[in-house]
Amino acid sequence: MSPSDAVMRDPGTPQATMGRPSDYLHAQHTLRSWFFTTDHKRIALLYLASITVFFVFGAIAAGLIRLCLVVPNGQIFTNDTYNKIFTMHGVIMVWFFLIPSIPSTFGNFLLPLMIGAKDVAFPRLNLLSWYVFMTGALFTMATLVIGGVDTGWTFYAPFSTTYSNTYVIPALLGVIVVGFSSILTGLNFVVTVHMMRCPGMTWFRMPIFIWTLYATSLIFLLGTPVITLALILLVMERAFHIGVFDPRLGGDPVLFEHLFWFYSHPAVYIMVLPGMGVITELVAAFAQKRVFGYRFVAYASIGLASITFLVWGHHMFVNGQSQLASTVFSFLSFAVAVPSAVKVYNWTATIHKGNIRLDTPMLYAMGYIGLFVLGGLTGLFLATLAVDAHLHDTYFVVAHFHYIMVGGTMLAFLGGLHYWWPKFTGRMYPEAFGRVGAFLIFVGFNVTFFPQFILGYLGMPRRYHDYPPEFQLLNILSSAGSTILAVGYFFPMIYLTWSLWFGKRAPANPWQARGLEWTTSSPPPPHNFAVTPRVDFDPYDYAIKAREVG
């Protein structure tokens, strides 16, 4: 078993061959070579560009929501416009940004690199998946922007089937199509993890990010078909009045909620799990330490992906579900806390006594851990039956899931983007701007969403733009925070774009990190490695400094 070129190279040394046109970015230049590429790295960048555009639209909608809520009587928009705006925010952010964010960009780029493969198992399917995503997403985006939909991102029956006068069917069709893209990506990743690992890359030598990606892909495969069916039935109900969700004919609107949340609760973990994987990578690299309890963190990922299929009923505690079912769902929802806590404790223990560097990615990681704990603990409030009766459908819920989705996934996304940016582009980002941006986002986020916990506890319902005057102070605070958050988002958008042309050239391994992706050049060559790597070391081999990797 001779060690390969990739393993023996000192990861800290800049490549002599840097900038030569053989890396994946410079191998070909035509538009065709981008839009018909089967290279997983280029497809990842296609996703990155498209979800960034969708994110901007979703963020503009969020800004309009906060703008409207500055005054108590909602004079800025009409009721209908406000409903359309928050639906646009929810649909875009959930379906077109958060769900594909980490899996489709980092996942596509890093999965083959991290397991020492040349590409994913089905490269053409991978490209198809992007086209399917864009078809559905652009269709629904056009519907939301031109016509508007007022159902909220959850499309609850009977409002969506009977009473809404907006363009529900086209919006649903786009979301259904995007679901197929999720399925194809999940399928590709599952097969890649099973079949494409390089020699010596056993399951327990895989980085945690790959474990979380695998768990996420299982949710894609097992959850997405059910939402596809639920939305097809919704379209049929609206178009042909099939009656399945219509109580006037003996149907059951709560059945839609069951089918919807059977996917959409696990979808929370589609958004959260890859973020957890990213944070594990960041924490290990910036503490220069082995991940504490590696196997537990790996098992916790699979554990979360399993338990998450058993808790959907906690969205229906006050919607006419039986007491027994609610009690069981409440208990199972508490169980989610166990693997989540395993992860948080293990990150903390990994940082403990590490050789800590507070570069931008680590700042995001630290922010993530704190905010995820807050978001997770408030989730336990909502899993408690009696407390949920008070907090259901209030701003407390909004604050809770934004702590998980923005404080969690978004920070992980940005942290990972900075960490792997040198690998993606071959350029370093400006560190000082990076730290300022991370700080602004952390502060802006908390000022925006912490007041919403209090608002919700005091009884302000979600999705209303008209509220009693005594809530105005907290709402102004929240809106003010959102402007700080917006400025924070502008920072990376501007300096990362700038760095594409003017950033410092990146060495192969700027962070002295372990992992196969750092053993190849930045940016990597078209087939990732000069020689297929052989792995005879554990992941996160930070303890052995002198020996280098391998």
Binding site: A117, K118, D119, A121, F122, P123, L125, I183, G186, L187, N188, V190, V191, H194, M195, M196, L221, L222, T224, P225, V226, T228, L229, A230, I232, L233, M236, F240, H241, I242, G243, V244, R248, L249, G250, G251, D252, L255, L259, H527, T532
Partner: protein
């Protein structure tokens, strides 16, 4: 007569075995999603049955049991011919394989024709509640739910069958050209999995809709 059997190694795989297994695993993963897609409909059918047992029994007696049963037999035969095609592809007997594939496509088409006839009968008997015309069980509103789920389930299965037959015809055309088995024998194996699975779905649809509620 027999030609060498194998597959062309794609650039990103290191061995042929790896490539074969990846294709097979990929298709199985796809089939699991298909199963879950239909599972939602089976769930709806069973919930409607629990909530409105009398209406569902009434509606189910209007289904054309014998057409459904005949179609079950047709699909079992088609699985048999598809298996034949796979076996012959493995030993490299291309001419025989092509005949079995055409037979499979023919049986699939027969299924669709019978299904179309069944829909026509439903239409003639006013058993199509989602159209604006008269509905024979209009006095029993809940029966609509079951009939609608019947149409959605069988139509969704029909779409899968139409796709299946189309792919099969293209595959047969590809396979009729020389050296196909030397380069792409795997396609026959993987397609076979899909075809068997469409049959399997019908083996669940038939009892859940036609048999269980009589």
């Amino acid at each position: 007569m027999a030609e060498p059997v194998g597959i062309m190694l794609a650039e990103h795989f290191s061995t042929v075995t790896q490539q074969r297994q990846a294709a097979k695993l990929g298709l199985w993963a796809w089939l699991i999603t298909e199963l879950l897609l239909f599972a939602g409909l089976f769930l709806c059918a069973l919930i409607i049955r629990i909530q409105h047992p009398a209406s569902v029994t009434l509606a189910a007696t209007h289904l054309k049991f014998w057409i459904g049963a005949a179609n079950t037999a047709v699909l079992i035969c088609s699985s048999f011919t598809m298996s034949g095609a796979i076996v012959l592809s493995r030993i490299g007997w291309r001419a025989g394989m092509l005949r079995f594939m055409l037979a499979t496509a023919a049986l699939g088409t027969l299924f669709l024709l019978l299904k179309g006839f069944e829909y026509y009968q439903d239409y003639v008997e006013h058993m199509v509640p989602f159209l604006s015309g008269p509905y024979v069980l209009a006095h029993d509103q809940a029966s609509r739910l079951f009939v609608d789920v019947y149409f959605i389930t069988t139509a969704l299965h029909g779409v899968h069958l139409i796709t299946g037959v189309s792919i099969l015809l293209v595959l047969t055309w590809q396979a009729s050209r020389p050296h196909f088995l030397t380069r792409h024998q795997n396609r026959i194996e993987v397609y076979g999995l899909y075809w068997h699975f469409i049959d399997l779905i019908w083996m669940i649809v038939f009892p859940v809709l036609y048999v269980l509620n009589r």
